[in-house]
Each structure stands twice: as C-alpha cells, then as structure tokens.
C-alpha cells in the first residue's frame, strides 16, 4: 500500500508528525468544525462533494465542502442567537439527516459540546442522558418531538428545543422552528478558538452498574481520528466512503464525520432501514469504494444469501472494514469469497475515541483476530489481579492501554470517580479480555463484566433491570446476554411476577414493548423467562453470572455464596 508500512511506521511513529501533517500548531484554530470544513476549502477543494445523502423515499441531497462550511457557519450563528455559548451541551436527537452532520460541526464551531443521541431512544433513556449533561438545547425532528415533550417537566435546564421540520405546526413552551435553508447564509464565521483540551463531544455509554455515563472527548481527538481514518480505514482522496454507523454512537462521529471530512473525503449516508437489496443497490449506484460497517450487518448480509449479491455490480468496492463487536472468521472469509475483499476488523470503544487495535491494509489478516495495536498506542494483555503485563502469549488477560493518545476520553461527565476507577497500575482498562499470539496479533475473548454487546452497542443490564421493575407486574428481574447468531448477543430477562399477575405470552409482549419505549429497541429483551425465584447471594444480591452461564452453556463455577434458602 503506498505510503503505509505498518512495521516501519510502528517503529518510528510520533504524534508530533500527525500534528505537523495537519499544521496543527500554526493553524488559526484547533476546532474540529473548522478542520472538517473551512480547512478543506482553504486547501482548494471546496467544490468537492462532501456528502451524498439519500433516504428511504429515494430523495437525494448533495453537499460540497463549501456548502458544509457555509451551512455549519449558519447553524453556528443561529445557535449563538439562541443563547448557546461555549461549553454548553447541545443534543442532536434526529435520524441520519444532513442537518445532523451540519449541526454537529456548527455546535463545535461555537465551542459548545455536541451531544448526539440515538433517535430510537425512549423517554427514560433520553431523560437520563439530558439530565446528566444538563443539556441546554436539543435539535430534533417533528417525528421525535413527542418524546421530548413527555419529559419536558423534568428537564427545566433545557432552554431551547429546536425543531427542524415543524412545517408551521403549533409550537409549545421552549420550542422554536428552524429551517436552515431559509436563513441567510453565513459565509464568514470565525470558529471559537478552542484549545487542544477544550471539550468537543459527549457520547453516552453503558456500564454494568449505575446510569449511562457521558464520555467526554476534546478537540485534540481529531489527531487520532484523522490518522486512523487515513491509515487503518485506508481512506484515499478519490474514495467514495460509506460508514454505516449512526452518529448517535461514537463510530458515527469519529468515522462518520470527523475522520473522513478532516481528510476531505466524499462520503455517503443512507438514511434507510436495513435490507440486503437496498444496501447492495446503494453501493452499486453510489460506486462506494470504501465501506466501514459492523459485524451484525455483515452477518445479516450473509443470511440474505449469495443470490442477492449476484444481482448487483459491487466491483467499485476497494477496501472493507468492520467495527462493533468481534468479527467472526466466517464473516471475514465470506467477504473474500462473495465480495472479493476481506473485511478488516477494528477494535476500539467510545472511551478510546479512535481505533486502537486493527487489521491493516498491508498486514495479513488472521480471520477472527483483532489485529495489532495502532502505531503510537501501547497495548498489553494484563494479569487481572496485579494489572502487570503478561509476558508470554496465549494467556487470557485484560486488555490495557497506556494513557496519552489524543482521542482518549478525559472523564465521565459529572462522574470522575468512575473514570478514575478505569485506571490500574498506569494502564487504562477498557473492560475486555483478550490474548495474543506469537506474531503479536490480539484475539478477543469477551467482556470482563456483565455489559451486553448487542449489534455492537453496549446495553447495561442494570438499566434494563431497573426499567423492568417499573412494570406493574414485575417484582424482581435479572438481565443477561444471550448468544445470538446475528447480533452476537441480545438481551434476555428473567422476571418474577407479583402474585396477582399470571405468566402469559401477552404479558411477555407487553413487557418487551414497555422496555422498548422506555429505553430503546436495543435494550428490549428479545426473550423473557418467568421464574419463581432468582439466584441470590446470602446477602441478597442477584447472581447474574449463574443465569449468564446457563444461557451460554458454561460451568456455573463457585456457588458457595449462593443462598440455598432463597433458591
């Protein structure tokens, strides 16, 4: 591959070189919003297409980098008029429409913090994230406004509710209608002069316990996102790139906005639900060359069969990569056989902000492997008690990263205690177990906690259990991961009913919908089992690990703390 030699770069890598490549020290600002639009125009390619967007109805909108620059300026000025200031949190709560991408840059340009949230979140999931961040404004669509209105009384900190497609419908308290196209274009807007450590993006992630945590990133994350998009995803100037992730999740911002646009790459967005035909059709029509997607999507395409693939000309595809959960070997091999290209798995998480371990364009792929650490990243397998590196390979331990890479999160919003607990013996511990082989490749083993990874998204069992207890029929609940061929894991709930309720299929469906609307479709239990009791310790704590072992056909291990009287 021209310009990239993993081993050579691994030995000589220096983050200062990335700064130099971006002229980081000498540019007028370090604002990501500026780097993704103004700088590209300054480089003389403002007329180049930045975004090709398409929806389920076949409507298409195209934006050049100059359009992106002016529209994000216009959004920035509008937000200032709404009283939004540097440091304020502004939530983007909408589908993958162009205003989401433009709004993201506009928020950053005024020094405010962008807080994108998955638009399928239910009322409670939305509320807990807005409450934690004390979000000052939310930009949303008419179709999602009902959810915002339902929690209005509990969000007094929310000063502006900006609706993009109101179409003259009545507005309620704190609501304003915005039609971006109708505003006078702002051609000159000097972005807020951020420093490297100025907060930029707040993504929410789930842990085993407690409420979702706001992962705080800073503008300096650009350095990691830029260089990994270039070297790992192998983005090249003539690429037509498609990142299938929703910007409500970190992949959708790090590699669906910042990475590609800081490189001046043309990207496509399909705002449409999944089907094999529509995805292949999109690749064919847009002549996608570089595709970053997720194992769940790849496995869904595999399930759709090879006959569908044959209907389309997918020869434009040059480079394929994947993120979300471990990519199984069958999926790598399927890509090679059916698409003529192997998928390159990448490993990272919301907290790392950018790819940490990956398969590279010039390295042999070992199907099922996570690959090797990115140059500039020190990764090791650690003993789970001493947090010392395990010197010999093939032994499972905790993944650890030496802190200090640019896109590393700076804290959990309003929860520094939990943030500090993520570090041991000088290592950042992402919570995953892995091992290495003799060639230095990392192999994913599993999570070190109870968090459920469903289709690449983390779901907190605690959050689902808490929501289940709000259902009138449920007296106790326990939630674990259940293996799933497509999504890797799905949510399974064990519930004990109050005496006056009888178990039935109707009640199961009612509980599923209850959680879907309260939290999100991802958190909805795909399976519910009614039980008479739940396994507990003598101190009364539910032993999730026993239920998990049962689902996965694993040994239940030490049960000496199990309270026999209760079970």
């Amino acid at each position: 591959m021209p310009g990239f030699d993993y081993q050579k770069i691994k030995n000589s890598f220096n983050w200062q070189d990335v700064k130099a490549e971006l002229n980081y020290e000498h540019n007028p600002t370090k604002n990501i919003g500026w780097y993704c639009s103004d700088r590209i125009c300054d480089l003389g390619i403002g007329n180049k297409t930045a975004l090709i967007w398409e929806n389920a109805l076949g409507q298409q909108r195209t934006f050049s980098f100059e359009d992106l620059r002016v529209l994000s300026n216009t959004m920035a000025a509008y937000l200032q008029e709404q009283g939004i200031q540097a440091g304020d949190r502004v939530c983007l709560f909408m589908d993958k429409i162009p205003e989401l991408y433009i709004g993201f840059l506009g928020i950053l340009k005024i020094g405010a913090i962008s807080q994108p949230l998955f638009s399928a979140f239910g009322d409670d999931a939305l509320l807990v994230r807005l409450e934690n961040a004390k979000t000052k404004a939310i930009i949303t669509q008419r179709k999602h406004i009902v959810k915002v209105r339902r929690i209005l009384e509990r969000t007094p900190f929310l000063q502006s509710i900006i609706i993009l497609d109101n179409n003259g419908k009545p507005l309620e308290a704190r609501e304003v209608a915005l039609e971006l196209d109708s505003l006078a274009p702002i051609t000159d807007f000097f972005p807020f002069a951020v420093e490297e450590e100025t907060p930029s993006v707040l993504h929410y992630t789930s842990g085993t316990t407690g409420t979702p945590k706001g992962v705080k990133h800073v503008h300096q994350s650009l350095l990691s996102q830029y260089i990994t998009a270039k070297w790992v995803i192998d983005l090249r100037p003539d690429d037509i790139y498609w990142c299938t992730a929703d910007p409500g999740w970190v992949t959708g911002t790090s590699y669906g906005i910042i990475g590609p646009w800081s490189l001046g790459i043309t990207q496509c967005v399909l705002d449409k639900g999944f089907s094999a035909d529509s995805w292949y059709d999109f690749i064919q029509r847009q002549k996608i060359t570089n595709w970053y997607t997720a194992p769940t999507a790849i496995r869904s395409l595999m399930r759709a069969g090879e006959d569908v693939v044959k209907k389309y000309d997918l020869s434009s595809l040059r480079y394929l990569s994947s993120v979300g959960e471990p990519l199984n070997p069958e999926a790598v091999l399927w890509g090679e056989k059916v698409l003529g290209k192997a998928f390159h798995d990448t490993y990272w998480q919301t907290e790392t902000g950018a790819i940490m371990i990956a398969n590279y364009p010039d390295l042999q792929i070992k199907p099922g492997s996570m690959g090797k650490p990115f140059p500039g990243i020190t990764a090791a397998i650690l003993d789970d008690r001493t947090f010392e590196p395990i010197s010999h390979g093939h032994q499972t331990g905790l993944i650890g990263f030496k802190p200090g890479w640019p896109s590393m999160f700076r804290t959990y919003w309003d929860n520094d205690e939990i943030y500090q607990a993520k570090f041991h013996n000088g290592w950042y511990i992402p919570g995953d177990k892995a091992k290495t082989d003799n060639d230095g490749y990392f192999w994913f083993i599993g999570r070190d906690d109870d968090v459920i990874n469903t289709a690449g998204h983390l779901v907190s069992p605690f959050e689902v259990e808490s929501a289940l207890l709000q259902h009138p029929a449920i007296s106790e609940s326990a939630v674990v991961a259940k293996p799933d061929l497509i999504n890797m894991e799905v949510v399974k709930a064990f519930v004990r009913l109050h005496a006056e309720y009888a178990a039935s299929n109707d009640l199961k469906l009612n509980i599923m919908n209850f959680i879907r609307k309260k939290l999100s479709p991802l958190a909805m239990p795909q399976e519910i089992e009614f039980v008479n009791s739940l396994p507990k310790t003598k101190s009364g704590k539910i032993m999730r690990r026993l239920l998990h072992a049962k689902e996965w056909g694993e040994d239940i291990g030490d049960v000496s703390t199990l309270d026999d009287e209760l079970n």
């Binding site: 179709k143 449409k272 639900g273 109707d506 599923m512």
Partner: protein
C-alpha cells in the same frame, strides 16, 4: 379471516405501539423497515405480536426486512401460516 381485517388490526397495532406522532399517516403500503419506523430489533416484538394474535409460528428465516417492510407484505406473510 378477511385480508382487510388483518390489515386493519396490524395497522392499528403499529400506530399504537410504534408511532409517537399522532399526525403520522400510516397506510398499508407505508414503508416500515426501510423508513426506520420499525427497526430490526423492534421487528422481534412485532413478530411476537403477530404470532400471538394469529396463533401462528413464523420461522425466523421468513421474518426478513422485506417481509416486514409494509403492512401489505406482512399480511401476505401471515396468510401463509393461517
């Protein structure tokens, strides 16, 4: 059971369970999966509803995004198992 009865029942259920916006105009040909109104996770609960309501068992391999993409296509699917 008449097609239009099934159609009406499913339309009502989707409006009640999946659509927040009361002014949304849903017809039997409206796109459900493609439009994002029902996502792949929510499809599981919709499938469960159909199975309970019509006392059928829809094989997972038949519960495709295409088969669930409109009320019309769902009705066609259900009729195979009635």
């Amino acid at each position: 059971m008449q097609d239009h009865e099934i159609k009406q029942t499913i339309l009502e259920y989707i409006k009640q369970e999946y659509i927040d916006d009361d002014s949304y105009e849903l017809s039997s040909s409206s796109l459900l999966i493609s439009s994002g109104l029902v996502d792949s996770f929510s499809m599981v609960s919709l499938k469960r509803f159909l199975e309970i309501k019509y006392k059928v068992s829809i094989p997972d391999e038949k519960a495709t995004p295409e088969a669930f993409d409109s009320v019309d296509s769902i009705v066609e699917l259900i009729k195979q198992y009635l």
